[in-house]
């Protein structure tokens, strides 16, 4: 017999100043899926991929496959054996430019399966050749429960005003 469950916010971080990383730690294993809603950008005029790691794992245990469109060209790429997952090209904040990421982390507390993410993102960068909308599937080759998520830009700072909200979905 099913009981009503929840789709509830776990935590939100809004940057009041630039930051090198954003971390969500001590994530409860009490949900089934996690959903991450992100609006962020670089602290300079440029664009670059926001990267994600789980449980402080920086080994080459990550990969992704993407479908992208930049307004004139559609493309698909895949990348494996990486030390993190690119989860979206985010813009540099010349003015008020922030990109959007909605990330589903499926069955994150399942200790028998590798962890899959489903990602939709868009980044309207100041550089026209780097403006994308995309759908992406990613993999962390670990059966561990996810209890920590770290986000970073590879060589610069996350812009002030960027927001990161983590939700938990609890299945019956």
């Amino acid at each position: 017999m099913a009981g009503a469950q929840t789709y509830e916010p776990i935590a939100t971080q809004t940057l009041g100043s630039t930051a090198a990383t954003v971390t969500f730690s001590s994530i409860s294993a009490g949900y089934t899926d996690l959903v991450f809603v992100i609006r962020c950008g670089w602290a300079i005029i440029n664009n670059a991929p926001l990267t994600l790691t789980f449980n402080s794992d920086t080994g080459t245990n990550y990969s992704y496959t993407r479908l992208l469109g930049n307004g004139s060209t559609a493309s698909s790429d895949t990348s494996g054996t990486n030390s993190n997952i690119d989860i979206g090209y985010m813009p540099g904040t010349n003015g008020n430019g922030f990109g959007t990421i909605i990330l589903n982390i499926m069955n994150y507390s399942n200790t028998t399966t590798y962890k899959t993410i489903l990602d939709k993102w868009e980044g309207q960068a100041s550089i026209s050749t780097k403006q994308y909308v995309a759908a992406e599937v990613g993999l962390w080759r670990s059966t561990a429960t996810i209890n920590r998520i770290d986000l970073a830009f590879p060589s610069n700072l996350i812009a002030s005003g960027s927001t990161f909200t983590l939700y938990g979905i609890k299945a019956a």
């Binding site: 089934t32 990969s63 479908l67 493309s75 494996g80 069955n107 299945a171």
Partner: protein, 192 residues
Amino acid sequence: MPILGILASGMQSSQYPTITTGFVSLKTITVGSGGASAISFTGIPASWTHLQIRIIARTNRANTSDWGVLRFNSDSASNYSFHDLYGEGSGSGAAYSGSNQTYIEFASLTAASSTANTFASYVIDILDYQNTNKYKTTKQLGGNDSNGSGVINFGSGNWRSTSAVSSLTITPGAGSNFTQYSSFALYGIQGA
């Protein structure tokens, strides 16, 4: 950001909760060690506005991929259609479609020859499922990645029926079973 429906659990006489506000977990089916040839949600009340199915799935097809078959209300006639946009990691992506089909397809499930412990993931939305003035539309996002290969799918489907969806069935496209640990979670979403 508003809190999206914090709901208390309650003992109900039916298989589904009667709480109809917010985003409600209705039922979850997790496949056991014997596998499952079909996943069925039956007797779905017309109490919400939309449904969402959240899936991780792998089949026993002797291949690296399989697909999922979705039907409503036991309708296996040619009343379905679908369109998909997908990327396989190279080139420009591709599209496929089916009209007058006997099911809605969602592709790129992992199968017996896929990398161990990898399951495809899908989120499927069924919009206005209980509206008797509209054909039923689905929207799906899903796929799998296997470290150097993978497929991401973005698609939609249509069931040409104005009946309220009261049941749905998911089966493997080519395999005979979903494998152990595959999970199918059904949610109801209430409008304002």
